[in-house]
Symmetry: C2
Subunit: 213 residues, 2 copies
DNA sequence: TATTGTGAATTAATTCACAGCC
DNA sequence: GGCTGTGAATTAATTCACAATA
């Protein structure tokens, strides 16, 4: 898909945000959009928008702009989300169970096909009252087996900090392809397992820095 | 606090991650740490760690390293989190109610002192069964008044996409200082109101890009 | 001796500015 | 005429490499 060059990680993140913008425009039945409009909505420079696309090809029409539907399709193809990815959530505490019912998250390209906890019985009791059995909660011992059986490619870690690396190791051992770590501590993976550590509080910390300075 | 220069946003995010690392080391009773160790744990270059600190002062001892406790204190001071910040959560759906009980989040420097929804009665019924009245849920009409009364400086937006900008506008009108937007669409604020849009799925999208390529 | 702190060198990302094209 | 696509210019971030020093 990519032409030849190394693509900046920032470009990839922006592509994902352009996609949201395009989904909105599509909802408003807009057919065509210019780089200037996208830039305006996403708070970036218009040349940047064009350059981000240029890494992957020519998607626009000079003098006209971009076809919304087509551009959306192209970006999904670039990102690899023109299909459904199977996800497992490990750790069904507050955050984990929020994910299980987070519909916006499910709707597009991701499907949570398994949920694990080290104490499924307690957890099921706690969460079943507020959702109609969204997905069965399994004991974490079954992780490797189920990852294989259900073609799970991505694991989301939502366990307490002291368990995070252990769970990461289990996922790695289960031949997971990628890990999204939402626990409050960083985990390590070998180069073969792609990783994103998302620290919720980091965003707050950086916000607060700019509030204080 | 900062010497003179403009500080890269990336530096601020890393400071927040060094802080996590230091908290862990402190928990293990480590007294001293080197830039190389921090770099190793946080997956960055050691010179980068030193340079990040250098923007703000000299915190280490040549030949020795950094005093864990002291460095932790210094970073908290730099980030402005050497005190408690009052937060409001707007939109008590799944994600919002997860925040209300997300203890790791509360523990350090942030305190959720108000929660708003446009239908508090329904919401209270839904969530009260799984938590012991963590914080009263108020009607969003009372936002401005309560923000003022409780010295709330930060608002977290966890409403559905079509409501996000409206809520942002309410917060802006209530003279909030900063907004953390966890809804799936970007919102806009005037320059006087600092903003972070956190798109959960963007992290997944970028992870998937690197899995596909 | 070991490790910080930092100027210089390097690499990367962004923006400009305009040629190319519909 | 208006907007894309892109080489060149600029700006920013990272890393190197070593002098300073506890």
């Amino acid at each position: 898909m990519a032409k030849y060059q190394k693509i900046p990680e920032a470009t990839i993140r922006r592509l994902s945000s352009y996609l949201k913008c395009l989904a909105e425009l599509e909802g408003k039945d807009e057919k065509v959009v210019s780089s200037t409009q996208i830039a305006e909505i996403c708070n970036v420079n218009a040349a940047q928008v064009r350059k981000d696309f240029a890494y992957f090809g020519e998607f626009g029409i000079r003098g006209m702009g971009y076809n919304v539907k087509q551009l959306k399709f192209n970006i999904k193809e670039i990102l690899g989300i023109n299909r459904i990815w199977h996800i497992a959530v490990v750790g069904i505490g507050n955050l984990g169970s929020a994910l299980l019912v987070y519909k916006d998250f499910l709707k597009q390209n991701y499907q949570i096909v398994a949920a694990f906890d080290k104490d499924p019985v307690t957890v099921i009791g706690r969460i079943s009252e507020r959702m109609g059995k969204p997905v069965e909660i399994l004991h974490v011992d079954r992780l490797k087996e189920v990852v294989k059986a259900r073609n799970i490619e991505i694991g989301i870690i939502t366990v307490p900090p002291q368990e995070a690396q252990k769970v990461a190791n289990l996922l790695i051992d289960a031949n997971i392809k990628g890990i999204l770590n939402l626990s409050p501590v960083p985990v390590k993976t070998p180069p073969s397992v792609k990783l994103r550590n998302i620290f919720f509080t980091s965003a707050l910390d950086s916000l607060v820095y700019y509030l204080s300075n």
